[in-house]
């Protein structure tokens, strides 16, 4: 894949059955990026994971009254970076206020944002005119 100027604009129903489809798209992209010198299978897993986590959050919290029945995902691959943007229409939250999980307390939940932050180089969550956008960036060295 020539990794200049590739953009995928995806809308899928906000149902968890589509998580695997989006995850697989992420894996395929990771395997095709020309200039990545790291472990490609690890990158594939990481992109699958962050897409799965972000889309799960958008389904759970992002569309509280089913106002928008799709999840909108934008993936952009430039020379050196992989951008992923996921849009939701929920109340939103302050991503900097999400605590690192207490590793000694065995909670069933609360690891999703931690995993995204751990695997991506930059993670921002911003309010927009209509809803919110989670932006995740991975440097491709």
């Amino acid at each position: 894949m020539e990794n200049r100027g590739i953009e995928l604009d995806i809308k899928v129903p906000n149902q968890t059955r589509y998580l695997s489809l989006i995850g697989r798209i992420g894996e395929d992209i990771a395997r095709e990026i020309d200039r990545y010198s790291g472990d490609r299978e690890t990158l594939a897993y990481q992109i699958n994971l962050v897409l799965t986590e972000a889309m799960s959050n958008a389904i759970k919290y992002g569309n509280p009254d089913n106002r928008e029945e799709t999840v909108h995902i934008l993936i952009n691959i430039s020379d050196n970076e992989l951008f992923i943007r996921i849009y939701d229409y929920g109340q939103g939250f302050d991503i900097n206020e999400i605590p690192t999980p207490d590793f000694d307390a065995l909670e069933d939940r609360g690891r999703g944002i931690f995993l995204i932050k751990a695997l991506m180089d930059s993670v921002q969550y911003r309010k927009q005119a209509d809803g919110n956008m989670l932006e995740m960036i991975k440097q491709l060295h």
């Binding site: 998580l19 695997s20 799965t52 986590e53 999980p101 590793f103 069933d108 939940r109 999703g112």
Partner: protein, 110 residues
């Protein structure tokens, strides 16, 4: 959720026959653990050989089962983690919580 269960030397061995454990199917796994402990099972061994992907909700279902086990004075152990799945346990420090074995046979010997 595709699962096969068998009882071997006092352990309920659950073979998870899914490629992914994610927000789509993890609630079913959590429920399965609850049912097993509620019906008197004590020692669960979860075979994850076929699982090549796990997300935070999949990890959460296993943590929930682990807590059920503790409450029931039983155990929930794991076997056959694929490398990328194992790395998720390490990243979230859960490898320090669970007893993890390379094979089902090795777990059953303990």
């Amino acid at each position: 959720m595709n699962l096969n269960s068998e009882i071997i030397t006092g352990n309920v061995v659950i073979h998870v026959k899914e490629e992914r454990l994610d927000a789509h199917n993890s609630a079913e796994l959590k429920l399965e653990f609850q049912k097993l402990f509620a019906s008197g099972s004590q020692n669960l061994l979860v075979d994850l050989k076929d699982v090549r992907f796990i997300d935070s909700s999949g990890l959460g279902a296993l943590v929930s089962g682990f807590k059920n086990a503790t409450t029931s004075h039983g155990s929930l152990r794991l076997a056959c983690l694929q490398p990328q799945v194992k790395s998720m346990f390490e990243l979230t420090r859960l490898h320090r919580v669970f007893e993890i074995y390379q094979t089902v046979a090795e777990a059953l010997e303990k």
